[in-house]
Amino acid sequence: RLYMLLRVVISLFIGASIFLGVLGQDWESAEIETKTAYKAFTKTEIHAKVGMKIGLGSVNVTLKGTPIYQTVGHSDSVNFTERIDYNERFHWAWRQGRIGFGPYAGRINQEFRQAQYRGVPLPIQWVAEYFTLDGELIRWGRSYRTAGWFANQVLWTAVPVWLIANILSCVVLFYAGCMFMVTSVFMFVSLIIWSTIKWGTQPLSIPFEDGVLYTHYGSSFWLVVSGGIVSFLYGAIIAMMDTFTPQ
């Protein structure tokens, strides 16, 4: 019973790590606290946390005031206390599109243009704008789109493999073990893809007044890493056990 439970838990963990990986928004992230301009037409700067969470298909940009409520100049004379807590998502899944912001442009370019019309806070625009540029080696949009696309493809492939592995573990243990290892291979491949497909030589860094947003691998990434390792070990152990002790 305990053994069964353990198996179920391990397998569920692997599955969860795949799903959370595919759907997760935190493959890379960055956050800083900074003074920053906030909106056009005013003089006031705000203090806020600017954050960025990159998933396979989109980037989430957050702006959270510290404190959340701040007095922001509305015009020279009128001040308001505003709640500064924004979270905007920009998708690049999966079209690159033509250069520019028109109907044939990539999705993120169009969403960025929409955001400009909506007038989202400036820091959010600045961050998002980085993903709309596409020339020479400044191609973060392209990099993340491509990497995300392939990582996404590969990771989704891991899902059926994992399912098969589960079904097989009720049938032929040895094959189940192999399948778990294959699952992990897919997971690792997606990680490798994610971390290697980059145009340009420089990491994404977005300067703000008090600091620079440097991205680093986030929880989704590490979850997939751990899921992959667990899956590999689990598969190897099962396969080994099956070959050496047939019962």
Partner: protein
């Protein structure tokens, strides 16, 4: 801090206007002051009736250069103008999809360098598509005068220019005061080729990073950019010093604010008046409703008047005004003394600037007069502008004119009207100072119609003496005013609070000279106060003319993108074509190797036996001291020979097989003459020993030495026997011709037999007639031909020493010559055929009266019975034989006491009940049946007794008796059937052909349509979907997706390749479903089977594969053509089509062919796919499956690779978002689940309980039945042997019945696997070892489970198709005999077994026998049809047939098969047969007919059923399965 406000002048120009946040931002539409001038009013460039732009440029815009500006405009003004223009305008992006507006160079028409390539400009998406919204260009720059050329026009761009230290812009390391090289690789235009590595584009790192994407265009523009760059840093430094506690951001903001303000001031109040000759009106206030957008009149025409100011070169000066002469090394490459030549410095000299500084250039620019502001443009622009790789030298003026037409600029006069200027009515009004001939040219070009005059052409030629009448000035001023007044952040706008009054004053007083002084090392006093005019310059202006230069502009070097690729193209095609050939070659090698190994293995095995044999032979030799033994090869025919051991012993030459079996024996007791032939050339290793009546002994030896030895032996032997030998020597070829080999002999024998039969039966054999004519000379031989006993046995397919053969031979060989002559043989046959019953009986009696005592004693009787049984392959114990003999004796009325039968007794026994049978027994012969067939066809369905009488050639006695269909002597023969009065017509016939070709074809077609309606239904659906997909993709790319533009680039290629890709996707997905065996096995049990012919899955699989192959070929051809197009179209075109993989960097250079094929995922996987497919297909060929099945099976699993590659193949989504995986998902899931079921089942080891080697190489395996293994009779399984590789599965039909405890298979050895399996189990059995276990997968396939639902069922099996019935029959017996069977309706089953020769399925007879022996046996009535007989005279079959008829009663079963079943010869006549069933089973309304075998058979049954069903009598439901 007010400075923060300045930050709100965003880099991208957004949020300047409060109500229209996007106003002035990049990507906004331009505006048009006048109406549009498109020739169709919407989007068509104006062309009709207008002169060629290049011609215009050549005729009107060239002329004497080096005329200095009369108003004293400086070169600095010209290049500053370029700077300002770049700040406000960027319309040089191309429209997507690319539209060409190439300019024809008329004078070059003959040469192939006659095109100036041009594309239409990017326009607002949606405009220009209908009448109310004419096409409008896009401006990619901010319309504001906001220094976006300094800082870039996006936030992130600007951040790449910053150093983030003390508010400065980033400087190149080691070169303070210069921007860094473009290491961040911001998206600068980079149109030039690398001179060092043509035609590669230049490394972007060689460019300097500016805010202006085109900042590197020429060194003079770069100089101005650098001045502004330094100015920012200068201010930043100042601010930083003043405010040590400020952050970088604050400093940057403030420095930028000041830079922009001074820039605005200088551009507007210093530069603008100089260029338009008048001062703009002073600033009043911010006008929020003023639209700043750039007008096309301004951007496409007026602002380009600066072209005329640009000189061919700039003289660089030292602080003392003297020209830098000679120019430093770094400049020399692109220069001529003493000036820096423009045409040779486009996009160059970055390094030189950094090393040599900009001061000399600045001083040169400020002190040199610009070109006169007229229509004349220097060659550097008009003829030697940089250009794309296709044409490296362009004509700026022609391009500008064309651009105006592209933008739909209104004509000059119209525009004048919109700007409140009077239109001109005559060309001479345009500019009085123009020479007459120029006016004449102009007049000529525009057909003397001033209303046709184009804006740019006329604008350039305008009379500029009165500034207020100059259209271009008006346009420019209007634009600048709007830009200023609409700018909320304009430095003078007091409301924005950017600057206070004193600061404003400071800004207003900052002149360009101040800035130059602050940013260069040259003394301020070197520069005149207004650097835009040379007036007051300390250095005298130097006029630069093109003849001054020591170097002329480098000429045009257009490259052909595809140049040098044809070889590669051919190479790639050859490579791709090589794939199938190489894999074919490899496949053949493997097949060949396997055949070779097999042969070797066989040889080794035989050698072992030979060795064993020969050692025993040696012992024999010692015993017969006069005998000699040697080994040789007996040549049996053209390329057939066998290894034999020749023994000369006594009077006989004996040939043994290497296994020690006696093959031939030739005894010389009867004759004293023979011939010996020897070959005398080639290897001299052949001898032929000719003896009368027999075929020659043709022996080949390993070498001539061995032969010498052998000949010696033979001659001695002959001498010894007193045989007279004639020895001949002849050439080997002649010898071969001469020798009568076994093959030749057999051909002869066949004729012999035919003729014998023909004579015996009075048949006029047409074939025989033919051959008679052909081989007339052979007939003689036939008459001479004599049969040995060995040959007789062989023709009968029996052992030569069997009693039957021996007795028969001796009986027939009346002259005891040891040979049967033609006559003797014919007599025998005639007797058997036509003799009276008594004669026949006597013959048999004589045969078995071995001692010629005239009586058959018990021993002889036993031998007789045994011999019959032996013939039938049946086995009875001695007791049973004795019992049978006793029965005979008893029947003869002879008691236990008497021991022998006389002839009378014997005849009595035989003829007592069966006289008629003996009389009527004849042979069914093709010749005879033909004449009767027509009648039969007419009357078949009411087969009258009369006809039947006539037809009963091979019918058994019951016809005559009118009782039973199968006669039995056994007590159970008088069952209920016996009482039924029906008769079954079970005759054999030979099918006939339709008369005409048409009728045949029609019948064939009709039959096929009827038989394959399910197939046709599925095909229609399947190919319907395929065609729908094809058409959908094709129309999409032909019509629907025009806006993507790929169609225009690739012509037909894209339609073909995409359409076929869709079909490929569909086919490759469907192919998986055809191999989901468990699914199919399950589905075929459901109602779906009426719609889908599941049994044809494999055939369908192959068909899909082949069609997919054709589609693949189309796909590849399509893309091969596409790739060609992709390689010859310039980059901008491709960048439009494939934004995912290309970016238009201005360089024009497309990717190479090899890049497409080998460096894109799509291309590379495509190539790999082709390789994979080649392997899969080649190894799936019939040949390969026949000879190297393993290799087929292994390579076939590359399908996984194929799928993975295909997914990767599309994953890049170059043309469209990948779709293949959508196609694939469902089938893959189904297939995987299916596979999993298989795996789960097949990983269980199955214990084999019994393995038995049956005759004819059949292995019977009996093994444990796994738990929960449910199957129906007739289904098949796949097995793998643990000892032969656990992955190699082979399909076999189960021959056990579902009720049985164990499963059994009958496996016939045909190839390596089955042979190995047989060996494996044989050795295991021999050594009493453990029987190796199996893996089992299944069951698959349809069970004929409905037979028991009918009262009467007919089962028809033919050829291999009979295997399922083995199981079914057992099942039947079980069900009917057990209690649970008592309530099933089935009352009678007819099993019809059609086989070429019964020998092939001997094991089935065992099963049938078993069946007959069980209680339920009565239920089944079996008819065996041996078809071979009808076309081949198999003596054995004939003999058996005769014996069968005679002796069935005696042994209580068929002598032939050992069965109670009746054997027929010929093909069954289903219609007559089924019809007679109707009569026999009158009370039965519906009969089931189940057939299984080749299509020919099932079709026949189907026809018969359909014909009978028309008669409205009983109904026949036919179910069939094709094997």
């Amino acid at each position: 801090f007010n400075d923060i406000l300045n930050r709100n002048r965003r880099m991208d120009g957004w949020y300047n206007n409060l109500d229209h946040p996007q106003w002035g931002s990049p990507g906004e539409r331009m505006i048009r002051r006048s109406t549009n001038g498109y020739s169709n009013g919407i989007n068509k460039p104006i062309e009709d009736g207008l002169p060629n732009p290049h011609t215009l440029s050549r005729l009107l815009m060239r002329g004497e250069s080096g005329i200095p500006s009369v108003t004293g405009k400086s070169v600095f003004l010209a290049f500053f103008g370029q700077h300002v223009g770049d700040d406000m305008i960027d319309s040089r992006r191309n429209a997507c999809p690319s539209e060409y507006i190439n300019i024809e160079i008329e004078e070059n028409k003959e040469s192939n360098n006659h095109i100036l390539p041009m594309y239409r400009s990017k326009f607002i998406t949606g405009s220009g598509s209908s009448v109310n919204s004419p096409r409008m260009l896009v401006n990619e720059a901010t319309s504001w005068l906001d220094g976006s050329v300094i800082y870039g026009n996006s936030h992130s761009w600007s951040e790449h220019l910053r150093s983030f230290e003390r508010g400065r812009l980033k400087e190149e390391d080691g070169h303070p005061g210069y921007p860094s090289f473009n290491r961040n690789e911001i998206p600068l235009y980079n149109p030039t080729i690398d001179l060092k590595r043509p035609p590669k584009t230049r490394n972007p790192e060689e460019l300097l990073s500016f805010g202006n994407p085109r900042g590197n265009e020429n060194p003079f523009l770069m100089t101005i950019e650098i001045i502004w760059f330094r100015w920012h840093n200068h201010l930043a430094e100042k601010i930083a010093v003043q405010n040590p506690d400020w952050s970088d951001q604050q400093i940057f903001d403030k420095a930028r604010k000041w830079t922009i303000a001074t820039y605005q001031n200088i551009a507007f109040y210093e530069w603008l008046p100089e260029i338009i000759g008048t001062s703009p009106p002073p600033y009043r206030e911010y006008n929020k409703f003023m639209l700043p957008s750039v007008s096309v009149e301004f951007s496409i025409a007026a602002m380009r008047l600066g072209h005329s100011l640009v000189p061919s070169g700039v003289v660089l000066r030292q602080p003392d005004c003297s020209p830098i002469d000679p120019l430093p090394e770094d400049y020399l490459a692109s220069a001529g003394e003493p000036a820096l030549r423009l045409c040779n410095t486009y996009w160059q000299l970055q390094d030189a600037l950094l090393d040599l500084g900009i001061e000399g250039i600045v001083l040169g620019m400020t002190s040199q007069n610009a070109e006169e502001e007229d229509a004349v443009v220097v060659d550097d622009l008009a003829g030697f502008l940089y250009g794309p790789l296709k044409r490296t030298r362009m004509d700026l003026e022609a391009m500008t004119i064309q651009r105006g037409r592209d933008a739909g600029l209104q004509r000059y006069n119209e525009v004048r009207k919109t700007y409140d200027l009077p239109p001109i009515t005559d060309f001479s009004q345009l500019n009085p100072s123009l020479p007459n001939e120029v006016i004449a040219r102009l007049r000529n070009a525009y057909n003397n119609d001033t209303n046709k005059l184009e804006l740019y052409v006329a604008g350039m030629m305008e009379d500029r003496s009165n500034a207020s009448n100059v259209l271009f000035y008006k346009i420019i001023l209007e634009q600048f005013q709007r830009t200023r007044d609409g700018d909320r952040l304009w430095f003078e706008n007091a409301q924005n609070g950017l600057f206070n009054a004193s600061e404003l004053q400071e800004i207003r007083q900052t002149t360009m000279r101040d800035i130059i002084a602050a940013t260069t090392t040259f003394n301020r006093s070197l520069f005149q106060p207004n650097v835009f005019n040379t007036a007051g310059s300390r250095c005298a202006s130097i006029t630069v003319r093109k003849d001054m230069f020591s170097k002329s502009c480098t000429p045009n070097t257009g490259i052909d993108f595809f140049y040098g690729y044809w070889g590669k193209y051919a190479g790639i095609v050859v490579l791709l074509l090589l794939f199938p050939f190489v894999s074919y070659f490899v496949m053949c090698m493997i097949a060949w190797k396997r055949q070779y190994d097999l042969a070797k293995a066989k040889k080794i095995a035989t050698q072992k036996v030979t060795r064993r044999k020969s050692s025993s032979q040696n012992e024999a030799e010692i015993e017969s001291e006069d005998g000699a033994v040697f080994s040789a090869f007996e040549v049996e025919g053209q390329d057939k020979s066998r290894r034999v051991v020749v023994m000369l012993e006594g009077t006989c030459i004996k040939l043994f097989s290497s296994a020690g079996r006696e093959l031939r024996k030739i005894c010389f007791s009867h004759f004293k003459k023979s011939f010996l032939f020897m070959s005398r050339n080639k290897r001299k290793d052949l001898i032929v020993i000719r003896v009368p009546k027999e075929y020659d002994v043709v022996l080949r030896f390993n070498d001539s030495l061995e032969r010498v030895e052998a000949i010696k032996n033979v001659q001695e032997f002959m001498q010894h026997n007193g045989v007279n030998v004639d020895v001949f020597e002849m050439d080997e070829s002649a010898l071969k011709e001469e020798a009568v080999t076994k093959e030749a002999r057999q051909a002869l024998l066949e004729t012999f037999l035919r003729q014998t039969f023909a004579e015996a039966l009075n048949i006029d054999d047409a074939v025989e007639q033919n051959s008679k004519a052909k081989y007339r000379h052979k007939t003689m031989e036939v008459a001479d031909c004599e049969l040995t006993q060995m040959e007789l046995a062989e023709t009968m397919g029996m052992k030569p020493d069997s009693l039957f053969v021996t007795q028969m031979f001796q009986l027939a060989d009346t002259d005891h010559s040891g040979y049967l002559s033609f006559r003797e043989f014919a007599d025998l046959i005639i007797l058997l055929m036509n003799g009276s019953p008594e004669q026949k009986a006597k013959m048999l009696f004589d045969m078995y009266d071995v001692d010629h005592s005239g009586e058959i004693n018990r021993e002889e009787g036993r031998n007789m019975i045994k011999s019959f049984l032996e013939m039938a392959g049946a086995n009875l114990g001695p007791d049973e034989v004795s019992a049978a003999v006793s029965t005979i004796f008893k029947e003869a009325g002879i008691g236990e006491n008497k021991d022998s039968l006389t002839l009378e007794d014997f005849t009595y026994v035989l003829l007592k009940d069966h006289r008629e049978a003996f009389e009527s027994s004849e042979l069914s012969m093709p010749g005879i049946t033909k004449s009767l067939k027509k009648k039969m066809n007419h009357q078949a369905h009411h087969a009258s007794p009369m006809i039947r009488r006539q037809d009963t050639y091979g019918t058994s006695s019951e016809e005559v008796n009118g009782t039973e269909i199968r006669q039995r002597v056994t007590s159970n023969s008088d069952t209920k059937e016996g009482k039924s009065n029906g008769k079954v017509f079970s005759d054999a016939t030979v099918s006939h052909e339709e008369k005409t070709w048409f009728a045949r074809t029609w019948k064939y077609l009709k039959r096929n349509v009827e038989n394959y309606r399910r197939h046709i239904f599925c095909m229609v659906i399947f190919y319907g979907i395929t065609i729908a997909l094809l058409v959908e993709r094709a129309t999409l790319h032909a019509y629907g997706a025009q806006h993507i533009g790929i169609r225009r680039v690739t012509e037909w290629g894209i339609i073909i390749s995409r359409a076929s890709a869709a079909a490929i996707s569909f086919h490759f997905r469907s192919i998986l479903l055809t191999m989901s065996r468990n699914l199919i096995a399950t589905c075929r049990e459901t109602l779906l089977k009426n719609l889908i012919p599941f049994d044809s899955a494999v055939a369908f699989h192959k068909q899909i594969a082949y069609v997919a192959l054709v589609e693949t070929i189309f796909h590849v051809l399509g893309h091969a053509s596409n790739f060609y197009h992709f390689c010859v179209h310039p980059l901008p075109v491709l960048a439009c089509l494939f934004p995912k993989i290309f970016v238009d960097d201005g360089s024009d250079l497309p990717k190479s062919l090899t890049w497409w094929f080998f460096e894109t995922i799509t291309g590379l996987t495509g190539v790999l796919l082709l390789l994979t497919i080649s392997i899969i297909y080649v190894f799936a060929m019939q040949y390969s499956r026949r000879f190297c099945f393993r290799a087929f099976w292994i390579t076939h699993h590359l399908y996984t690779v194929l799928y993975i590659l295909t997914i990767l193949h599309g994953s890049l989504g170059i043309v469209q978002a990948p779709v293949f995986h959508f196609y694939l998902v469902v089938p893959v899931v189904i297939f995987l689940i299916d596979k999993m079921i298989t795996i789960s089942r097949s990983k269980v080891q199955i214990t084999v309980i019994k393995a038995e080697a049956l005759p004819s190489g059949v292995l019977n395996l009996v093994f444990k039945r796994p738990v929960a293994f449910d199957y129906q009779s007739g289904q098949w399984v796949r097995i793998a042997s643990l000892s032969l590789g656990t992955n190699e599965y082979h399909p076999f039909t189960l021959t056990s019945a579902p009720h049985e405890r164990y499963l059994s298979l009958h496996i016939r050895s045909v190839g390596p696997w089955t042979s190995n399996l047989r060996n494996l189990y044989q050795t295991a059995v021999e050594h009493q070892g453990k029987l190796p276990n199996l893996y089992l997968d299944g069951p698959f396939g349809e069970g004929h489970q409905d037979w028991y639902k009918y009262e009467v069922s007919v089962l028809v099996g033919a050829g291999i198709g009979v295997t399922p019935f083995a199981s079914i029959l057992k099942d039947i017996v079980n069900r009917t005999s057990t209690k649970k069977g008592s309530h099933i309706p089935c009352k009678k089953i007819y099993f019809i077994w059609v086989t070429r020769t019964q020998r092939h399925f001997e094991w089935l007879t065992d099963i049938i026998r078993e069946l007959e022996e069980t209680a339920g046996g009565d239920l089944v009535s079996t008819h065996i049809y041996i078809t071979q007989f009808a076309n081949k005279y198999d003596l054995r079959t004939t003999m058996l047939y005769i014996c069968e008829r005679y002796f069935q009663k005696v042994a209580n079963k068929s002598m032939f098969t050992g069965l109670k079943a009746i054997t027929h010869f010929g093909r069954p006549q289903f219609e007559a047969f089924l019809d007679s069933l109707q009569t026999k089973h009158k009370e039965v309304r519906t009969l089931g007919v189940f057939s299984c075998g080749p299509p020919g058979l099932t079709n026949g049954v189907e026809d018969a059923c359909r014909n009978l069903n028309k008669l409205n009598k009983a109904r026949f439901n036919h179910f069939y399965e094709n094997f």
